[in-house]
Structure formats: structure tokens, C-alpha cells
Symmetry: C2
Subunit: 152 residues, 2 copies
DNA sequence: ATTTAAAAGAGAGTTATTCTCAATAAGGCT
DNA sequence: AGCCTTATTGAGAATAACTCTCTTTTAAAT
């Protein structure tokens, strides 16, 4: 959580610290997430499509490997939005936000709350953990689904 | 979040409200979760095994259907613990807690924090949502994994 | 007791994600 | 500038969690 913005160089340095390499694929994928509108997130498939429309043919294997790697480095946040696949977004404290999700229709609202990150910091520090990300996820039923009589 | 303890009768009433039925399978599965030690959670497979050791042959299909149903009713919490499958636990405000997860070794620490539920209540109310559950999930690197030089 | 539709069971089907392995290339070293 | 080691990529097969389909069973209203 120390870094607030990533460049190809900072990514390279962080990778080299661990004996890893900066590849064109990694640089391109980081770039995609950096330039995404605030709060926008992508699934692996969506990322693959977006890369292709921009003329970058990066294999699905590499995409899955890269987003997982970057999530474990704290560069990306891995989101579980009540769907059957994960979403990823850039992890920047400035834009740190949380999700209120309708369990019936999956409609999602983002919200901010400053005390959440403080709780995350305090808790991880207390246990000696190195914080990467903390997310408050609220499962609820949206107004429209409350009105509907339909099942589930 | 209004209810703090479930009985076969209260489950029956809630099901009937929506034109559904109380089956022996649903009653047994609710019972399993009620009697689980505080903070203990189960995957669908683990629940299936536990049911079998207690002499209840409930099909995997029914188990998956039931835990999802109960999560959507707010009776169970659906947890994503950095593994490739979901875990479920009973949803009781008294024992409401959160998870600090090591993204490398998956070791998980539970912690309590009273303000989280307040934030969840406030946020969902503000948006007109009906709260079912809220969880603060912290992704971090545990002390042991910080010391190890091993990858990821 | 009869009726109706919800639910269970069994197993096939789906799909997100991971794994395998040969080919490629990053980056340290000389 | 070229060589060498090994991390990484790409392609497709494999895995596994979960859902779907369809028939049979059964809850519960009448």
C-alpha cells in the first residue's frame, strides 16, 4: 500500500527484487489497468478482449498468470462480485472503495469509507502481516429485487 | 440481520412466505451449521462429508442448492478465503467477524470489529438495500511468508 | 385422500482457471 | 556484442467447482 502509482520502471524494480523479469506483456497489462476509468474493473476475458481490440495478442494463460501475480504483489485488487468469475482493478489508496452487491441481480454500487482502510492497516499491523488490500463487501437485496415477488 | 438464531420453525415460516417448502434436507443442513463451533466454516464438499459421517445421504446437487439458497436468505455467509471454492458459515451478528488472509499460504485469522457492521448498516440503508451480510476481507502477506524468499 | 408444484437425486454438462511442455526471450555476465 | 541461464510465453489439454436437466419423490394446501 506504499505505492500509489505504478510505472514500467517501478514494476521492473519490484520484479527484479524477486528475480523476476519485466516482459512486454506485463507492461502492457499494467498499462491497461492504469488507464482504466476510476472504479472500472475487468475480468480475465474482458481484459483479453480489450487487449485484442488494441492490437495486443496476449494469450489467456499469460493473462490469468499476470493478473494473479499482480494481485499478489498488491498492484491489482481481486474482486468477487457475486458472479462466477473474478474481476481486477488497479489498487490505488486514493481511489480506495468498496462494494454493495445485490445477491439477486448482481447490481453493484461502489462506496467510499475512510475508516475501512484504517481498520485494515491496524489489524494487519497488529498481526505482523504486510497489507496488500482490504475490501468491505456488503451482500444485500436492492430495492427493485425487494419489490419483485420472483424467487431467490 | 434481524434474526439472531434460526429454528426449524423460523426457517419453515421464512420459506413459506415465498411459497417454498421445508424439507428434511434443509432442516438437517441448517442444524449442521447451527451446531458448528463458532467461526467454523465448511465448503460444499466438506459439508457433504460431514453429513455422511452423521448418516445423512444428501446429494451434492441439493447441498449446493441449499447453501446458495440460505446465503441468499441471509442465513449463511458465503466466504471467499483465497481458495478456489467457497466456504459457508452461519450468519449470526453476535459472532460477526472478518478475515485476514495470507495470499501466499492462505493462512487465515479471524478478527472482530464493531464498526464494520455499523458501516454496512448505514451504507445499505442509505441506498435502500436490505442488508444480508457484510465482510471485511484483508489480503496480506503473513510473517512467515514475508521471511521466505520463495516465489509469489 | 387427492392434487399440484416444489424439491431431491443422479449424472451429464459447463466454464473459469490451472497445468504441461516445448519454444522464446529477459537480463546478467564476459 | 554475444552467450548463457532460466523465467516466461503460448497453445491446448486437464481440472474441478458448480450448474443444469430430467425423472422421481414429497411437502403441504384443498
Amino acid at each position: 500500500m506504499s505505492m500509489s502509482f505504478y510505472t514500467a520502471d517501478s514494476l521492473k524494480a519490484e520484479l527484479h527484487e524477486r528475480g523476476w523479469r519485466l516482459t512486454p506483456q506485463r507492461e502492457i497489462i499494467l498499462d491497461i489497468f492504469q488507464n482504466l476509468a476510476a472504479g472500472k474493473h475487468l475480468s480475465a476475458e474482458e481484459l483479453c478482449d480489450l487487449l485484442q481490440t488494441e492490437g495486443h495478442d496476449i494469450s489467456l494463460s499469460t493473462i490469468y498468470r499476470t493478473v494473479k501475480l499482480m494481485a499478489r504483489m498488491g498492484i491489482l485488487r481481486e474482486l468477487e462480485l457475486a458472479e462466477d468469475h473474478k474481476h481486477y482493478e488497479i489498487n490505488q489508496p486514493h481511489h480506495h472503495h468498496h462494494h454493495l452487491i445485490c445477491v439477486r441481480c448482481n447490481q453493484t454500487i461502489e462506496f467510499k469509507n475512510d475508516s475501512v482502510l484504517k481498520i485494515g492497516d491496524k489489524t494487519s499491523k497488529k498481526e505482523g502481516y504486510h497489507l496488500l488490500d482490504c475490501q468491505l463487501t456488503i451482500h444485500a437485496v436492492c430495492p427493485a429485487c425487494q419489490r419483485s415477488i420472483l424467487p431467490v
